[in-house]
């Protein structure tokens, strides 16, 4: 579409040599995308859709993507892992070239990416959507080895199944301890959805068991809705916030113990949701700051620290937008349109973005938080008066509707991104 139009534009009398030559018009523009998750696959496909003549190369080490949304249902035995998994056939069919390896170095000045297999890619613009990496060691005692005994399950796959197997193997009467980190982290309502579903699993399968959720904060996403549901449904779940001593100071994987300033909990199953940061490649690219996350321009998602590198999804500092798959996908589409505009020497339009995050409390019980965002103060800001959570008072039919919409959302977004 834009290819033929821009070529026409050159034929229409304007002298190409006098224009700051739009790379795309010459058919040479090469966009490299690092990460084939919700953000990366979305931006790669969206670029090909908006401007089929752009060359797009996506770099992703895994041949099968395992989605996090609905992985809490897998942990609770409500769903199996294959329902979370997608190949990249659909992305490849869109004309995206895929290198199945990981990017190991980025030279922003030379616009070059080096891959683990030694390949060097040069780009006109680079998009990073590497998701998160765990800050190993930020929580004393919680390193990669510890996660084999105390799974985080915050990247879906083997970790998800490990936590599920541990819950299944636990004797009735056991204690499960979870810990949630301070902000910011991937999927703000995720720990509370998980706690709900584990409490539901225990209530139905191991009724003498108990779940304690230790939290490094006093406030969290959809808090009143979750707490209302817990008090009505899950007497087996105890949430301990920061001011009640919920901040975990260290863990011991050998004894499965979790220590706060006040107490040491010895559990049968421990799920640590640890402190996080942008995927490590962001640091190699020089686009993450001291916070570990990547500041961006809210119109183009271009890094504030390096030109020609865009950052979307969990890795980005997106202001009021949460780190969600919905947001990563919405940002990807805005970023793709901005890149196409920039390649045509057009000014990218000021975007509006939406996010909706559903959480499942138990089967047929869904709640949501939504927001609409626009650029402002150099960030993405909430549009006032819009957004918010599901009503506190609602009939069962509304909760059921939101559970159905949640699954509908998952089916829709995974089809758009990977189908």
């Amino acid at each position: 579409m834009s290819a033929s139009l821009s070529r026409r534009s050159l034929l229409a009398g304007a002298s190409a040599s006098l224009i700051a030559a739009p790379a795309v018009a010459q058919g040479t523009a090469h966009i490299v995308v690092i990460g084939g998750g919700f953000g990366g696959s979305s931006v790669a496909r969206s670029l090909k859709q908006l401007a089929p003549n752009i060359r797009v190369t996506m770099v992703e080490p895994n041949r099968v993507f395992t989605a996090c949304p609905f992985s809490n249902e897998v942990i609770a035995g409500l769903r199996d892992l294959p329902a979370q998994q997608f190949t990249y056939d659909g992305v490849a069919r869109s004309g995206v070239e895929i290198d199945f390896t990981h990017a190991s170095a980025i030279d922003a000045a030379a616009k070059r990416v080096t891959l683990a297999d030694g390949t060097v890619l040069t780009y006109d613009r680079l998009v990073l959507s590497p998701g998160i990496d765990i800050r190993w060691g930020a929580l004393r005692g919680y390193d990669e080895a510890a996660s084999a005994r105390m799974p985080h399950a915050w990247k879906a796959g083997e970790q998800t199944m490990l936590l599920r197997r541990q819950l299944e193997a636990m004797e009735d009467g056991g204690l499960v301890v979870m810990s949630a980190p301070d902000n910011p982290f991937r999927c703000p309502p995720g720990p509370y959805e998980r706690a709900s579903l584990i409490a539901w699993y225990l209530k139905t399968k191991k009724p003498k068991s108990k779940l304690i959720l230790l939290d490094a904060k006093d406030n969290f996403s959809k808090q009143r809705l979750f707490q209302q549901a817990w008090s009505q449904l899950f007497p087996n779940l105890e949430w301990i916030g920061l001011s009640k001593g919920g901040k975990v100071s260290s863990v011991d994987a050998n004894t499965l113990s979790v220590t706060t300033d006040f107490e040491t909990y010895k559990a049968q199953v421990v799920n640590i949701i640890p402190p996080q940061r942008a995927g490590l490649i962001a640091e190699a690219a020089g686009v993450s700051d001291r916070s570990g996350w990547c500041p961006i321009d809210p119109v183009t998602f271009e890094s504030r620290l390096q030109p020609n590198i865009h950052v979307i999804g969990d890795a980005a500092v997106a202001g009021a937008m949460p780190k969600s798959a919905f947001a990563a996908n919405a940002q990807a589409k805005v970023c793709a349109a901005a890149i196409v505009a920039l390649l045509h020497n057009r000014t990218p339009q000021e975007p509006r973005l939406i996010n909706t995050c559903y959480s499942i409390v138990m089967p047929d019980y869904g709640i949501s938080v939504a927001g609409v965002y626009k650029p402002g103060k150099g960030l993405l800001m909430d549009i006032e008066g819009a957004g918010g959570t599901s009503p506190l008072q609602a009939p069962d039919s509304t909760r059921k509707m939101e559970a159905d919409l949640a699954l509908g959302w998952y089916n829709t977004i995974t089809r758009e991104v990977f189908g």
Partner: protein
């Protein structure tokens, strides 16, 4: 469309923009260019829930195929609270009349293709 830092004036033919600062006539993809319209702000987020494909299993309706009038009516009613909703009332409140109109027209045009 906006044209970076230059004074842009739409000429009679859609899709023509004059960049006076460099004194050149350029044709580019214009928001008003027939069939080449850029997606209006906000529209690309909708497909997170409203599937482009008719074969996706979801209670959320497809937007492609709906008339602009029906999308506009629904959004206005959700915004004012006169029509009950689970989520769309919260989202509709984030958009102005003009933004809703543009999004509705864009989805109607997709259906006409």
């Amino acid at each position: 469309m906006k044209s970076g830092g230059h004074m842009a004036a739409a000429l009679s033919r859609p899709g023509i923009v004059m960049r006076s600062a460099i004194g050149l006539l350029l044709l580019c993809v214009s928001a008003s260019g027939a069939g080449a319209a850029e997606m209006p702000p906000g529209a690309s987020s909708c497909t997170g829930c409203h599937a482009a494909s008719p074969t996706v299993d979801t209670p959320a309706p497809r937007l492609v195929g709906l008339s602009a009038a029906s999308i506009e009516d629904a959004m206005s009613a959700w915004r004012s609270g006169s029509r009950p909703a689970t989520v769309m009332d919260r989202i509709a409140k984030g958009f102005s009349d003009a933004e809703i109109k543009a999004i509705a027209a864009w989805y109607e045009a997709q259906g006409a293709k």
